[in-house]
């Protein structure tokens, strides 16, 4: 008697307006989309299109000016900052363009970081971080610091960190933007595999068509609106 799983992301008419020195800038002008559990979607668009703003909203790093956003069935507008932090911690995984690893910290401790805020004990944290690192093929690099690793390896550490809490949604913001072609391909292969194996929904933000091609669904954003959605209506 389990209810059908809610969509990983459900957005209805999201807008986001910034006030910059008294000038009102409308970055998003009514975006609605629904991304199902385990889906692989790419948000594409030129810079300034609003895709980064959309990404921040979907990642609960920011709040919409208006509209409804549900992450894994949880309506976010009513949540306190603390509950929002918990939602990011347990439901969402982030991968950034510039990796954002803690510089003087080992790969293992970098990966274990989200679990610290979850309240997981040290022994279990290390165990889970080890498993996550092994799943991105870095089982032999656990004691290394970011400065001792290549860009591709650093991004794989960041992917392991995003996955260690077993999130429902993985948000990747230009994950190959700082990588050469070979490392970029490798990172995308890992994302493909993780999406297929663990069933985590992957939302990719990119302006590179070949990267976006990894996703089964492309959502084109321009001037704060969805211009084209190749898989609109996904989900039940």
């Amino acid at each position: 008697m389990t209810a059908p799983a809610p969509p990983a992301i459900e957005a209805v008419d999201l807008t986001r307006r910034y006030d910059l020195d008294g000038v009102s800038v409308e970055a998003l002008r009514g975006v609605s989309l629904r991304i199902g559990q385990g889906e692989f979607a790419a948000i594409v668009g030129p810079s300034g299109s609003g895709k980064s703003t959309l990404m921040h909203l979907l990642g609960c790093l920011d709040r919409p000016t208006s509209g409804v956003l549900r992450i894994n069935g949880v309506e976010m507008s009513g949540l306190s900052d603390t509950r929002l932090a918990e939602l990011r911690n347990r439901t969402i995984g982030f991968v950034f363009q510039s990796f954002h690893l803690l510089a003087r910290t080992t790969a293992l401790d970098n990966v274990a970081l989200p679990l610290v805020y979850w309240g997981v004990g040290r022994a279990e944290r290390r165990e889970r971080a080890r498993t996550a690192l092994e799943s991105v093929g870095l089982g032999h690099r656990m004691g290394h610091r970011p400065s001792q690793m290549s860009g591709g390896e650093q991004q794989r550490v960041a992917i392991a960190r995003a996955l260690v809490g077993e999130p429902k949604v993985l948000l990747a913001d230009e994950p190959t933007g700082n990588l050469d072609t070979r490392n970029g391909t490798e990172v995308m292969a890992i994302l493909d595999r993780l999406n297929a194996e663990s069933g985590v929904a992957v939302v990719l933000v990119t302006h590179e068509p070949e990267v976006a091609a990894h996703a089964r669904r492309q959502i084109h954003v321009r001037d704060g609106r969805i211009e084209l959605d190749t898989g609109a209506g996904g989900g039940p």
């Binding site: 603390t82 932090a85 990011r88 911690n89 950034f96 989200p114 805020y117």
Partner: protein
Amino acid sequence: MRGRESFVMALEALRVNRLRSALTMLGVIIGVLAVVVLVSVGTGAKDAVEKQISGLGTNIILVVPGQLTVGAAPTQSRLSLADVAYVRRVVGDPAKVTVSLQSGETVRVGRTEAFVTIIGTDQNLTNVFQRPLAKGRHLSETDVDTRRRVAVLGSEVAARMFGDVDPVGRQVSIAGARFRVVGVYATVGQTFGLSRDQEVHVPVTTAQRMLGVDRVNGLAVGASGPEEVEALQGRVVAALTERYPGEKFSAVTQTQLLGTIGSVLGMLTGVLAAIAGISLLVGGVGVSNIMLVSVRERTKEIGLRKALGARQRDVLAQFLIEAVLLTTIGGAIGIVLGVGGAVAIRSFTEVPATITWWSIALAFGVSAVVGVFFGVAPARRAGRLDPVVALRAE
């Protein structure tokens, strides 16, 4: 996040910036060091003076004409031995009143000379003051009545004039007149910076003849119990004022002396502690400054931590614990150095530094509070950072 995690994280952050952490702590270390050392010196001085005063005896009332001046003989006195006899009648117990007539004179034995304080007094001295003997006897009533040229030496005078020889029964020359030594006092130390071991006591009558005066500098009354001191003090002053209308007489009790000097030295200690406290405060401002720099430097890290699920209070706790660790570790080092400094001062100088537990507890408590107080603003700034903005920071 668990408390232990925040603690480990903060320690790690301090370790990474070792030099900066050490320099920031230095301000707190110096502040706490100053508080502990200066309070020790102040308290030590107060204790020493109080010990000197209570070492005089118990329930003593000192009576002098005019205004009381500590450590110096009043220049003018009209009190005579007849007045002393009058005070004895007022007090009721003649044995509880003694007199003092002081003069600086040269004492000579053979070729050894010394300039000492000669005090003319009487047989009642030991009924009022604590003045134990090392050898021989005290001055007697007969010595006073018959103006004998006898003397009781302070321990330092005896040692200087006679060395290892027993002075009792030997002659000394005081201002050219020959005196026979009848006793030597035990060592008693200083009062108000004057060594009482450098005194020579002679009968007051002999001293008056020697100096060609018929006055005394003052008298001292011993009350039989602490509850009688105040009433007796009032009675003596009233009686003297009645005898010499329009003149002023001062009577001060040991308790009043203790209270006055204690409050002066207590205030001094307070001022020293306040000055030291200011340097502790400056150290705290340094901590605040460095924490603000640290928050700015680590904006990106804060943004990342928030994206990964750190709540506002997690980030706040991390930076606050860092600030408090800076000040408490600095405080602990300052206490160790301060206690070491106070012990060194006591060992190598004459200053009687007394380490007080309250100053140590206070210094540590204040440094922890300084950490919280000066850490809270930077930590709140860190906690409130918008993750989107923070992640974009360069």
